[in-house]
Symmetry: C2
């Protein structure tokens, strides 16, 4: 059995330290030299352990100032998912995860949307129709619509994750809209989804969003 590296243990003990001392967002940790002394390891190892917590999003390290417990839970997944997407943006498994989250956003939006949310969504539909009438395909309005849904869902973790997953997915949506006749179809989809959200029909919103995503995402299908 291979033994775990020291800095792994340091990371674990630092997590425990934060938990035991009930440290919340914004609270300050002891300096690196202090921690090295308390844990009985070299400062180098402490720094490697801290790097792990930093990448993980648990702490915020400020040069010349100190080490602080981070604020947003969403920040934890953000850099990682971004990394993952950058590495292989058209991985099908990734698209399926993304679809699931966005359909869930539609479901939540159906129950939580405010009048402002509905107004914003309606605006994107008007804008998309105008763009299509003007000969465009409504890429901007399309993106705004999907973002509006996510915003209406009021779930920061979901929003952050989706934001990063979408970095790669953006061009897929753009490519999809370029297909002949796709833009009006997408517009009709949007209207149907918004209708379900207005009606507070969570199941229907979820179903229609999923159908919409599967239609637009299926680029490789033999026509």
């Amino acid at each position: 059995m291979p033994r775990a590296p020291l800095y792994e243990g340091v990371a674990t003990r630092l997590r425990e330290f934060i938990e035991v001392n009930r440290l919340g967002p914004g609270d300050r940790l002891p300096g690196e030299r202090d921690l090295a002394g308390q844990l009985g390891v070299s400062r180098t190892s402490v720094r490697q352990g801290l790097t792990i917590l930093r990448v993980t999003g648990l702490v915020d390290i400020q040069h010349g100032n100190g080490i602080y417990v981070s604020h947003n839970v969403g920040d934890v997944l953000a850099p990682i998912t971004a990394e993952l997407v950058m590495a292989n943006p058209e991985l099908p498994a990734l698209g399926e995860v993304r679809n699931a989250l966005e359909a869930q956003a539609a479901r939540l939006a159906a129950t939580r949307r405010t009048p402002d949310d509905l107004a914003a969504l309606a605006t994107t539909i008007v804008a998309m129709r105008a763009d299509i009438d003007a000969g465009g395909v409504g890429i901007v309005a399309d993106r705004d619509f999907h973002r509006g849904i996510v915003r209406a869902a009021v779930n920061e973790l979901l929003a952050d994750t989706l934001e990063n997953l979408s970095d790669g997915a953006g061009r897929i949506a753009a490519a999809s809209l370029q297909r002949p006749g796709q833009a009006p179809r997408s517009l009709a989809d949007h209207e149907a989804i918004l209708g379900a959200i207005e009606a507070a029909d969570a199941d229907e919103a979820n179903r229609r969003m999923m159908a919409h995503l599967e239609r637009t995402g299926a680029l490789d299908e033999p026509s």
Copy 2:
């Protein structure tokens, strides 16, 4: 504007190195001393950069052997999500993300399930009924059912993410089953979900799974 730390740059340059040299899973990177020389930085900084890539899941560092490009994409998110869940397991936002992924798994399972998958799922239902008849609540069979769904979905990324999200969710499910009359209700839900999957009805499988999760997850509702 604050300048980025050196080790961040090292991590980025190492990522580029992997990409430019078309290194795939299993390929070996130069040693730490080599990299330090090539990048013109100290070994310390190289090690910190490597730690980032390691946490990120991009590379696998082996003591006494060398540094290799990692294999599984799922490994990227796994340790991070586990971390996140450990930190705050009853965060409602987390539950919503988890529900979305599991409902998506049900949807995918409806189209991809093999006869073996169906048989395994049916077995868990039989086992759960037997356990309930014997006075239990079928915790084990319940867990097996949900895992069986995920397995049938054939999406490694989704499976890995869910596996880690569920570490914290496990006890929620267990607590839910303890409620009077819940176990038979869950069993009925399972049967309905399996029915939809057998019928290859993706929408229905998705809908029923979501309904099931929302029912069992709503622990804090005033009864």
